[in-house]
Amino acid sequence: MRSVSIVGIGQIPVGEHWELSVRHIAYHAIAEALEEAGTEQVDALFVGNMLSGSLLSQEHLATLIADFSGLRNVEAAKIESACASGASALRIGHMAVASGMHDVVVVCGVEKMTDTSGESTTAGLATAADAEYEAAHGVSFVGLNALIMQRYMYEFDVPSDAFAGFSINAHRNGAKNAHAMFQKPISLDAYLNAPMIATPINIMDSSPVCDGAAAAVLVASEQAGTYVTGHHPGAVQILASASANDTIALHDRKDPLFLEAAYVSSQKAYVQSGVTPADVSFFELHDAFTIMSALSLEATGYARRGEGWHLAADDAIGPDGKIPISTLGGLKSRGHPVGATGMYQVVEAVQQLRGEAGQGQIGSASVGMTQNIGGSGATIVTHILGG
């Protein structure tokens, strides 16, 4: 298996891009990534996307984007794993290069969520759950996470402001990221007074609906030198890539408060890379909701069960903390264009590892971990990257 490296990244600022269609925002990210890699020769484009069929009436999305991006006669396929589509697509790109099937692969995560009404988008997001036994009962995606959070607070006797630190950290970091949707810190008061979406999840616990696209160019590590153009210090190597699943329905989990798929995929990634949790310089976790940050930290080796929220309360998650998370804003502040998110995480990890994260740069970033979650924990993909 060939080792695989990232030699170019691109991203469009996350936000409401009314003036641009899905093909335009994807092209923006792809063109930037190819420009950085200094190549026009591409063998394949894998697109991570969740909602183009249900919200935009546009399937065959990878071929549409390849066409619009001037990539002809290449392989193109869309990869869908709900909100984990972005990282799932990266895994496919990784396998394509690792196998020797392709030499230059572009992976692009893209989502256009603001073309439709809020209720349509909410219904679209609920397609990540079991249509017949979850969505049919009117539970939204926020609602599923709220069910987890409510039970977590009950079972572990957690105070109602316990999760504030995750949101405050995300916004503080996002304020330093020019590509973030929200670039302003928030106060504890703002968190405490935020309106409820689905109790106990308030607006500050939840990531926003938005548009975005992020891309990376993958080549064999042994050939990476050819592509690095001097715009940046060097290629970033994919040290580990793993995916695991769990029951699609929250109600079918053995323990709805434990992210088994995060545990399994992170353990695989640790073994593949020889990296331990203590070696990780920063962790781009899937903070779609603050409760997910706590559960991810618990399943991935940073906290015991029921204690993940202590890391926020103790500010161990800040840029100078024990395990910096959401270093450029995370899903909460940078935004969560669902199928694109996994690729934003990777693009930001590359920025950190290159030392190009600007004001959001954390000190001595040598190993970065990213984790992308689909559904209420049903698909979880972990990557470990090194400079």
């Binding site: 249509a131 036994y133 926020v142 069910l147 009950y154 689905a198 109790t199 929250l250 709805p256």
Partner: protein, 134 residues
């Protein structure tokens, strides 16, 4: 849900019809081809009692298309006494009523105004079990 899907799941929605695994004897809802507990072929049909307790709940203010008329409403994870957990709305409640551990029982209610073909969709919701006077 399409008419075909509504038809296929009618026994589940109207009467919580599940299964008992012939191998490990655990209750399963909804029916599956493979038992999630022991991976053997799943077993004969079994209708759940409809009694259970609230494992978790949420009051939803932002809701999906098709559920706007009922907003806000409360959705719960209900642990059935046979073992399986289900996702369902709570009904016949006030906000103060709801708490984790609360005993509930299944009732049939309108789930959403109309499906894709304009049909009205019925199915299970849960309401509090009134404690016997003591």
């Amino acid at each position: 849900m399409s008419i075909a899907s509504l038809w296929r799941t009618r026994q589940q929605r109207y009467s919580l019809q599940g299964e008992i695994c012939p191998e490990c004897h655990q209750a399963i809802f909804p029916p599956r081809d493979v038992c999630p507990h022991c991976s053997e072929a799943a077993g004969p049909l079994h209708t759940m009692s409809g009694r259970g307790e609230v494992y978790s709940y949420t009051k939803m203010f932002n809701v999906p298309d098709g559920f706007l008329a009922q907003r806000p409403y409360t959705v719960a994870l209900v642990k059935l006494e046979e073992g399986p957990m289900v996702t369902a709305q709570l009904t016949d409640i006030t906000d103060e009523d709801v708490e984790i551990g609360m005993p509930v029982e299944m009732v049939t209610r309108k789930l959403r105004e109309e499906g894709d073909g304009g049909e009205i969709v019925y199915g299970y919701k849960f309401r509090p079990v009134l404690a016997a006077a003591d």
